[in-house]
């Protein structure tokens, strides 16, 4: 996957030189380890800033909403699905974007790796299948497969579903993964146990809204949590307010979430916020045979009515 960068740069250079796009959105090296940053490249000279490795977990579709320029965008499987969602939701036009598709082999889980390290990690060196981390007085080599982000480990759409150029041959899709083991576990709990489970899950949330900000779906001009007239949800650290925020955030993503993992990756507290959206994703798959962002041809389940709706009350 590391070798993709030459092709990414070559395509970006060409697109900019031929004025096919006004900018290319890709990644540059971050100021802290394992955190590559989004990067808007507007000139051919800047193309060399672009990087590609296993720390490109941010979802770049987040930077497309309501843009008016012509944009080249580097897109992994999940990013491409969020681009499809943006197009369906009229946040960007298909002919405005040149999608530079990246067949993805998974991003690494910074929370997990940090937890494994004895001290602050100062350097991370990767090869195609190993991750070497170094810090004061320690050095470790990890198997990349073992430290993938959870959503990457269970991903079944690694190849971009929509693209104009592909930087390499498609990778093999995973088929033998169990995507919903954790959700089934929660579903099986009693109401009291569920209550306690979520109380515990959210107990460290500081309401920084990092999870919301990282998500490409959260593009409302004023988010319901920021609105003060009317104030839909209390702004305090009270657990009812925190819970309201999380459940509503998840519901706003119902039928749209691609499980890209950007929210979970962004959380400074390491809260597994995908557990909320994954339940809705599972329901959409089981009830409506729907996976978000796979096609421009179909309308998402929440803006269509079907006479065979699985729920009795609406039929």
């Amino acid at each position: 996957m590391l070798s993709y960068i030459d092709k990414i740069k070559e395509i970006s250079r060409r697109l900019l030189k031929e004025s096919k796009v006004d900018m290319v959105i890709g990644f540059r090296k971050g100021t802290v380890v394992m955190m590559n940053e989004p990067c808007f490249v507007k000139t051919v000279a800047d193309v060399d800033k672009l990087v590609w490795d296993s720390n490109c977990g941010i979802n770049l579709a987040n930077y497309l909403a309501n843009r008016t320029e012509k944009i080249g965008i580097v897109a992994k499987g999940c990013d491409s699905r969020n681009i499809v969602t943006h197009i369906i939701e009229n946040k960007i036009k298909r002919d405005q974007v040149v999608i530079i598709g990246v067949p993805c082999k998974g991003m690494i889980d910074r929370h997990n790796i940090e937890a494994m390290a004895e001290a602050e990690i100062q350097e991370v060196i990767e090869t195609d299948d190993t991750i070497q981390v170094k810090g004061a007085g320690f050095e470790k080599t990890l198997d990349k497969k073992e430290v993938l982000q959870e959503n990457c480990a269970i991903c079944v759409h690694r190849n971009p579903v929509i693209y104009d150029e592909l930087v390499a041959d498609e990778v093999k899709e995973q088929t033998d993964v169990d995507r919903y083991e954790d959700v089934r576990h929660i579903e099986a709990l009693s109401p009291e146990e569920k209550w306690d489970f979520f109380e515990d899950l959210l107990s460290t949330c500081i309401r920084c809204y990092g999870c919301r900000n990282a998500c490409p779906l959260c593009y409302c001009p004023t988010c319901f949590v920021d609105e003060s007239r009317p104030q839909w949800v209390g702004k305090s650290q009270d657990s009812t307010d925190i819970r309201t925020f999380h459940f509503l955030r998840a519901y706003h993503c119902a039928g749209r979430c691609t499980d890209c993992g950007a929210c979970e990756r962004a959380c400074p507290m390491g809260i597994k916020v995908r557990l909320f959206t994954k339940k809705l994703e599972k329901d959409c798959l089981e009830l409506f045979d729907w996976e978000a962002g796979l096609t421009l041809e179909k309308r998402p389940p929440l803006d269509t009515y079907r006479p065979d709706d699985p729920d009795e009350f609406i039929r």
Binding site: P191, E192, K194, F198, D241, R243, F313
Partner: protein
């Protein structure tokens, strides 16, 4: 999220179906009264020790 079954219900009632509305409201109130007050999802004033 840990709400007891029955406490949250959905119905589809047209503005012309006033009798259905009354029926549904009565039915739901009975179910919920039987469940008693919900203790969890309540925001309490901060208590000072």
């Amino acid at each position: 999220m840990g709400i007891e079954p029955g406490r949250l219900q959905f119905s589809w009632i047209s503005s012309a179906e006033s009798t259905k509305f009354v029926e549904v409201v009565n039915e739901i109130t009975t179910v919920i009264k039987a469940l008693g007050p919900h203790e969890n999802f309540v925001k309490r004033e901060a208590s000072i020790a």
